[in-house]
């Protein structure tokens, strides 16, 4: 399959992507806070063998900080994973839809991504990878607490399901502030694009389940779908309302954003994300009738983050150089 973020569906609705993460530990090894470097090495080997030829192991040792940051921006690895100072492993499929981190906070983190509203596919795939691992690995499991994890907040299913959603109107109208407490009532959470404690960029949020124990995987996924569909319905309503009451102002914003993206000489990451968000909305409402860029907007959004940008430049860039390079990259993207 093609790499998930190159699929046009990521730009087609407010739902950019769907993700599933399964946390698993192996019974015979101590968990992260206790495991020794020697045991960590054995652990990595064991998981690599269990996954066999289905995955390509990625050597992190051969990657510099810029490349690692780029992987973080493409959601391949977690910030926690990069910080861990023990032998660790990373297995990736070429379409970047499945990745397995070994010796993250848990021994095994299976992560699957599907473009657009593809949470069922993501869960199905993660479930299959889990079955494959289980053929040769004995998991730490308890009949009451389910799959045992480093942090008890992940015990039970070990499942975190999430949607990445673009909510420009919900944010602009201030609705977003009421959303967080409401969502948390249902054992769900809403955060910025790159996980906990990060500022939302380009009005992109992640909705995910918090509760992992006491509910089946299907119930968790269905609950997340229900909440997310409410959020999306509301975003759609707000957008339609704005497009009928202040259409000209909305169009003006889309075209101004497009104008800036195609002509600016310097753009900060934050500003560029705002502009790309406006352009996304412009295409979505079919009012921005200009040619689409050669890549999906979500891929562009990831490409202008500091790590990916410096990877593309092939060298380290200071903030000022980055802003110049970012503007020139974006001009190139939107050029006919």
């Amino acid at each position: 399959m093609k790499v998930w973020y190159t699929d046009e569906i990521v730009d087609a609705t407010p739902v950019i992507s769907s993700r599933v993460r399964l946390a698993r530990n192996i019974k015979k090894y101590p968990f992260l806070v206790v495991i020794s470097p020697e045991q960590s090495k054995l652990l990595v080997e064991e998981v690599e063998t269990a996954l066999g030829s289905h995955f390509t192991p990625i050597s992190l040792a051969g990657k510099n900080d810029i490349e690692k940051r780029g992987m973080l921006e493409r959601h391949i690895v977690s910030p926690e994973f990069l910080k861990i100072n023990k032998p660790k492993g990373l297995m990736l499929q070429s379409d970047e839809r499945i990745c397995v981190m070994v010796n993250e906070e848990d021994h095994i983190r299976i992560q699957t991504i599907s473009p657009g509203d593809g949470i069922d596919t993501a869960w199905d795939t993660a479930n299959k990878v889990d079955d494959l691992l289980e053929e040769s690995i004995q998991y730490a499991f308890d009949k009451d607490y389910g799959y045992l994890t480093s942090c008890p907040t992940n015990a039970g299913t070990g499942l975190r399901a999430s949607f990445m959603v673009h909510l420009p109107m919900t944010e602009r109208t201030g609705n977003i502030r009421g959303l967080l407490p409401a969502v948390s009532k249902f054992g769900m959470t809403l955060r910025g694009i790159y996980g906990e404690g990060t500022e939302p960029l380009g009005h992109i949020y992640q909705v995910s389940n918090q509760v992992t124990l006491g509910k089946s995987e299907e119930d968790i996924v269905n609950g997340l779908k229900t909440i997310t569909s409410q959020i999306i319905d509301n975003e759609n309503k707000l957008r339609e309302k704005a497009m009928s009451s202040i259409r000209l102002e909305m169009e003006d914003q889309f075209f101004r954003a497009y104008g800036t993206l195609t002509h600016a000489r310097k753009l900060s990451g934050k500003e560029a994300m705002e502009l790309l968000s406006a352009v996304r909305l412009g295409y979505l409402t079919q009012t921005l009738n200009v040619p689409k860029p050669g890549k999906t907007l979500y891929e562009i959004m990831m490409s202008i983050q500091p790590g990916s940008l410096q990877s593309a430049a092939g060298r380290e860039l200071d903030e000022n150089e980055r802003d110049v390079f970012r503007a020139s990259y974006l001009r190139g993207m939107f050029k006919k």
């Binding site: 806070v33 009421g178 409401a182 124990l213 509910k215 089946s216 202040i246």
Partner: protein, 165 residues
């Protein structure tokens, strides 16, 4: 700043509201502020969904005082677990079971796993789930005074439980 409600006029009224212990700010124009209803409340909006999840989870209640013991397998102390929120091994869940159980009940939806299980843990898990289900049916049968059915269910449960131990 534009008014959050009509998005047409300048916001001149800045209000703070406490909803569910969370401070939220609102920025409105005079016209919209004078109307009593607040802009689209997500509280009300999602209220209808409460039934789907069986009600609002209880707030975190006070946790038990820390016990001073260690996991015999990995050596992690309870103090350490409490400080970092991370256990050291699978056995820690047994060692700290008494302390962990109420915490799990509070932070999670429940304290019994309802999801997938490894095939290797298989038959036992399947019987346990089946017993749970039969027990529910049993209490329903008793309630509805279907004693013949209840007796049949009770025998089934006994048989399954005997096989488990």
């Amino acid at each position: 700043m534009l008014c959050e409600k009509c998005m047409k006029r300048q916001a001149v009224v800045h209000m703070q509201q406490i909803i569910n212990g969370q401070v939220t700010e609102m920025h409105l124009c005079t016209e919209c502020a004078s109307q009593s209803d607040s802009p689209l409340s997500f509280e009300q909006f999602l209220q209808g969904l409460l039934d789907v999840f069986g009600g609002v989870p209880e707030n975190l209640s006070s946790q038990k005082p820390a016990a001073k013991f260690r996991c015999p397998v990995c050596g992690l102390s309870y103090e350490n677990f409490k400080r970092t929120g991370r256990v050291g091994c699978a056995e820690c869940y047994q060692t700290f079971r008494r302390e962990m159980d109420p915490i799990l009940k509070n932070i999670q939806g429940g304290n019994r796993h309802e999801g997938k299980f490894p095939h290797k843990a298989g038959n036992g898990m399947l019987s346990r789930r089946k017993i749970d289900k039969l027990k529910l049916e049993l209490s329903k049968a008793v309630e509805e005074e279907e004693y013949e059915n209840a007796a049949r269910l009770r025998d089934q449960i006994r048989e399954l439980e005997a096989n488990l131990s």
